[in-house]
Subunit: 193 residues, 2 copies
DNA sequence: CATATTCAATTGAAGGTTCAAGCAACTAGG
DNA sequence: CCTAGTTGCTTGAACCTTCAATTGAATATG
């Protein structure tokens, strides 16, 4: 069988070059394992909650939330794809579904014939507003309320370091400031102030 | 449009009950957003690296890694599903693919006619061993080497708190101890000590 | 011992994501 | 201009995951 992560093992790399390959020590393994398990278990739970209570999956919810945060409730598809961490193709398929349900419409951009603006409809906003509280509660129950302020900061700091590697361009971050969180978006609800 | 996360908004819950719904403050939003983005971007990158270099996806790699950590290179399907955070169905489909490629075999468990033991084959171990270094390098590049020891601990602590909520039974944790990380497993390679 | 229930695993269909073209509309070079 | 190349988006096929239904084996109940 195997003792794990101990000795260095020269091995062929992806590129074909040889390298030492540093295996993981105990701390690194525990940290990596915990992240793997969160990544595996959390998204299905959020999906399920939204699916049950609003007939949306997490990705569809995020799309509507992003649109609701815009002043004109609209975004170009390419920008929307970046904000939702989705490929153009994935967004295009999802937008077709949402459009078929009347939750958004797509229209040509007058400034650039190539671009298409996705616009949140009234019914789309209604569905989002109805789904938001349950979703926020789920995020609280599963994530935020499990952490004290220090742990919250620790989580954020680590994840932001990781994002520097994983998403070097930081393409997905909204330019203006911060207001990207899919959850927050939803408060499109009431607080118009 | 919307100012976000500010005011409390009475709203109907999933269960139909009324509740205040505490929106997210700035720190919570930033933390949650960073986690969402890591969950969205990291898995595809690991998948792509493994797919290119070994013709495996992350899930298939994890299956082989889990098996390689066992003394007899075998696990019952249900146990394997728990260890890999997968549904029985998902594992069954994946096992069929891996078996078709000769990387594992499934045989009846003599102790319980209902159970099936998945066993890693020689070629399966070879594929895993060939894939391991590149995968570990990717995990280092994208995650571990982005963090100092304190951040690593912070990440782990927060994720373990989250897992207490997300996976109350802790069903997926290997009983014996720690050696679950998919990455570590791979060192089945050399270190037999 | 017959029957009902639970458990382990599989199956096929439905739904979502990725991948590799492909099609317009814009832009730059000659 | 006009041609070549780039950009924004869509499409269909292949792939993977989920969901509901099913089989067979073990266990519990009367």
């Amino acid at each position: 069988m195997t003792e794990v992560t101990g000795g260095a093992v020269p091995e062929v790399q992806e590129t074909g070059r040889t390298a030492p390959t540093r295996w993981l020590d105990a701390d690194e393994r525990e940290a990596w394992l915990s992240l793997m398990r969160v990544m595996a278990r959390l998204p299905p739970l959020l999906d399920a909650q939204l699916e049950r209570s609003a007939g949306l999956n997490f990705f569809e919810y995020t799309i509507l939330a992003m649109l609701s945060e815009q002043e004109d409730r609209a975004l170009r598809m390419s920008r929307l794809a970046a904000l939702t961490d989705a490929s153009p193709s994935r967004l295009s398929h999802a937008a077709r579904h949402l459009e078929a349900r009347g939750l958004l419409v797509r229209e040509n951009d007058p400034h650039d014939g190539r671009c298409i603006r996705a616009v949140l409809t009234g019914p789309g906003l209604e569905v989002l507003v109805a789904a938001a509280p349950g979703h926020v509660d789920a995020v609280r129950d599963l994530v935020l309320d499990a952490l004290d302020r220090q742990q919250l900061t620790g989580l954020r700091e680590a994840n932001e370091q990781i994002l520097l590697r994983v998403d070097p361009g930081q393409a997905t971050r909204p330019a203006w400031s911060v207001a990207t969180s899919a959850t927050s978006a939803t408060s499109a609800t009431s607080a118009t102030r």
